[in-house]
């Protein structure tokens, strides 16, 4: 689905960020991209949808090379959700904003309206279609931004720290959204994130460090490698950290994902 082969990349007048980076992601996989600050996590994501171009190496998305001539095709397949919800609105109503991508692709009006309605119902934003995007909360804006991507029917979603500016409730709602996209649409998901719960919900954690894929493992394995996790500026959720601390003290307990699992492990009923 996504193949990056021997990628080299550097920003102008800076040292090389990637020198020989290769990475394969299968269709339908949910992958978390993690790494220390400045390791190039977002850069990697932007290379995949052609927002940036590598100095050397090849990138393919669903068999299509990510090159100048195919970039429009690639972007139809890859939806990119940014960190700041305010940076992705251009229209004065939610409906027009969602329509923007469809208009650019010359989709007939009837079909366009149907598709907007369909996605609005799915994301539970139908009541906001006539509102100004600026009147929405951060979490609502991100939901509208997701609708704007989904309406284009992408196969891949890239979330670039998309939940980091949201409050806890909105973040949890976004996580549920991500789980649904993954389960119901078999969507391939790449998420650049520091959120431990989101990482634990994904299937694979890829650590980008020193211009390379430094580790490629399950999210739980990542958190169990405490030094590496810390280097990536990650901290395990309390329940997982606690189960790991108990294990270190000689307790026979498997790592747990949340406090419910912990309680069940400690006091089996």
């Amino acid at each position: 689905m996504i193949r990056m082969e021997q990628i080299a990349f550097h920003y102008p007048k800076r040292e090389a960020l990637f020198e020989n980076l290769s990475l394969h992601i299968e269709k339908g996989q949910w992958v978390s991209i993690v790494g220390p600050n400045g390791a190039g996590k977002s850069t990697l994501a932007k290379l995949i949808n052609g927002l940036l171009s590598p100095a050397a190496g090849q990138i393919q998305v669903d068999g299509l090379p990510v090159t100048r001539e195919h970039v429009d095709e690639v972007r139809k397949k890859v939806g990119y959700l940014f960190q700041n919800p305010d940076n992705q609105f251009i229209a004065t109503t939610v409906r027009d904003d969602i329509a923007f991508g469809l208009e650019n692709r010359a989709i007939p009006r009837e079909e366009m309206l149907d598709r907007i309605q369909e996605v609005a119902v799915e994301l539970q934003i139908a009541d906001w279609l006539d509102r100004h995007p600026a009147s929405l909360s951060g979490g609502q804006k991100q939901r509208v931004a997701i609708a704007g991507l989904l309406v284009l029917q992408p196969d891949i979603m890239i979330w670039d720290e998309a939940t980091s500016m949201l409050d806890e409730r909105s973040k949890q709602a976004m996580m549920e959204q991500l789980k649904e996209l993954h389960q119901n649409r078999n969507m391939t998901i790449l998420s650049v994130t520091h959120d431990a719960e989101e990482i634990l919900a994904s299937e694979r954690a890829i650590v980008i460090k020193n211009g390379q894929v430094a580790a490629d493992m399950t999210p739980l394995e990542l958190f169990e490698q405490e030094e590496l996790a810390y280097e990536c500026k990650l901290m395990p959720p309390f329940a997982l950290a606690l189960s790991m601390a108990m294990k270190k003290k000689g307790c026979r307990i498997a790592p747990v994902q949340d406090e419910r699992e912990l309680v069940n492990a400690i006091w089996p009923s």
Binding site: L234, M246, C251
Partner: protein, 335 residues
């Protein structure tokens, strides 16, 4: 001694029509000197509006607020707030917006010079503040805009610390920071409170990050205060969190569940990770015969541990003997 007192404080944004609700309404609040307050509430609950009353950016539409020795009353516009603003440091939600000079040092010196310090004294204050937030002196000559997100945030906080305010007010300082930087920032705030007796008021929507660090919790909803109290009081009324739209921290859920299973009061349960691990091993069937750990009750360090029912640290005093490096999280408080 109260450092901030709000009596029936209300605020309405000028451009709102009078039929619209107050952004703040009927707020009664007393903040004691030398404590760490966490203010929580969902978007639009009035947290930021309240905070901006602390140094007179907003002045009451109703009631009054006293900050240190300055009283703001509804209907009386106060001017000449330089002295108050040197004593109350406000860190905005996106503190990088507070930076504007060409070097980090100039940005750090700006406040102290404005508040009457000599250039030399301001330079000294700048170095000290930068060290306090754990950044290297090498950054002094750099442009603030070349720094990483986490560094910019820390520099912005240092610009406020450089004026040595008695009251440090921060509006969601941890938003968009990575988890490790968030943790470090909260440790720093605890240090400022513990070592220097500063009062800290921090707005956040993540209760988990301040659950063990804060002394008092203030919950807000729709412009009013719905709860003020200690951690123990919060543990006794978890329904208040749901009401204010705040997610219950995993530690709190665990403590409540552990209390139900063991019959022990939540106030006796620990705060720090290692203490929790031992507590659980000693109060469940899991540890027996497997861990070889001593029972918690016989632990020689027992007196030094902080429990959920205790304040995050003892009353504000300068603890000279602690001067030096930050202690890692998970260490019990000194008794």
């Amino acid at each position: 001694m109260a450092i901030v007192t709000c009596r029936q404080l209300g605020y309405r944004y000028r451009d709102e029509d009078s039929s619209r609700a107050f952004a703040l309404h009927g707020v009664n609040l007393e903040l004691e000197q030398g404590l760490f307050y966490a203010v929580l509430g969902s978007t639009g609950s009035g947290k930021s509006t309240l905070l901006q009353h602390f140094n007179g950016i907003y002045q009451p539409s109703e009631g009054e607020i006293q900050v240190l020795d300055v009283t703001f009353q509804a209907g009386q516009k106060k001017k000449g707030l330089k002295e108050l603003r040197s004593r109350v440091g406000l860190v905005f939600q996106f503190p990088e917006q507070q930076l504007f000079e060409e070097t980090v040092e100039k940005d750090l010196m700006f406040g102290p010079i404005q508040f009457g310090k000599s250039k030399e004294a301001a330079r000294e204050a700048a170095s000290k503040a930068l060290a306090e937030v754990g950044l290297s002196r090498e950054l002094l000559e750099r442009s603030p805009f070349e720094l990483s997100g986490g560094q910019i945030r820390k520099v912005a906080i240092a610009t406020v610390l450089a004026s040595e305010p008695e009251l440090i007010v921060l509006d969601e300082p941890t938003a968009t920071l990575d988890p490790v930087s968030r943790h470090e920032l909260i440790e720093l705030l605890q240090e400022l409170r513990r070592k220097e007796g500063r009062t800290v008021v921090m707005v956040t929507h993540r209760l988990d990050e301040v659950f063990c660090a804060a002394d008092r919790f203030v919950l807000m909803k729709e412009g009013t205060i719905t709860f003020t109290g200690t951690r123990q009081e919060l543990l006794e009324s978890p329904e208040r969190l749901a009401e204010a739209g705040i997610v219950e921290p995993q530690m709190m859920t665990l403590a409540l569940e552990a209390s139900r299973r063991t019959g022990l009061p939540v106030a006796e349960m620990p705060c720090e990770l290692d203490d929790w691990a031992e507590w659980l091993m000693n109060h469940s069937g899991l540890a027996s015969g497997q861990s070889g750990q001593p029972a918690h009750a016989s632990d020689p360090d027992d007196d030094n541990r902080t429990a959920l029912g205790q304040p995050a640290a003892h009353e504000p005093i300068a603890e000279e003997e602690q001067a030096g490096e930050l202690r890692p999280a998970g260490t019990g408080e000194e008794g």
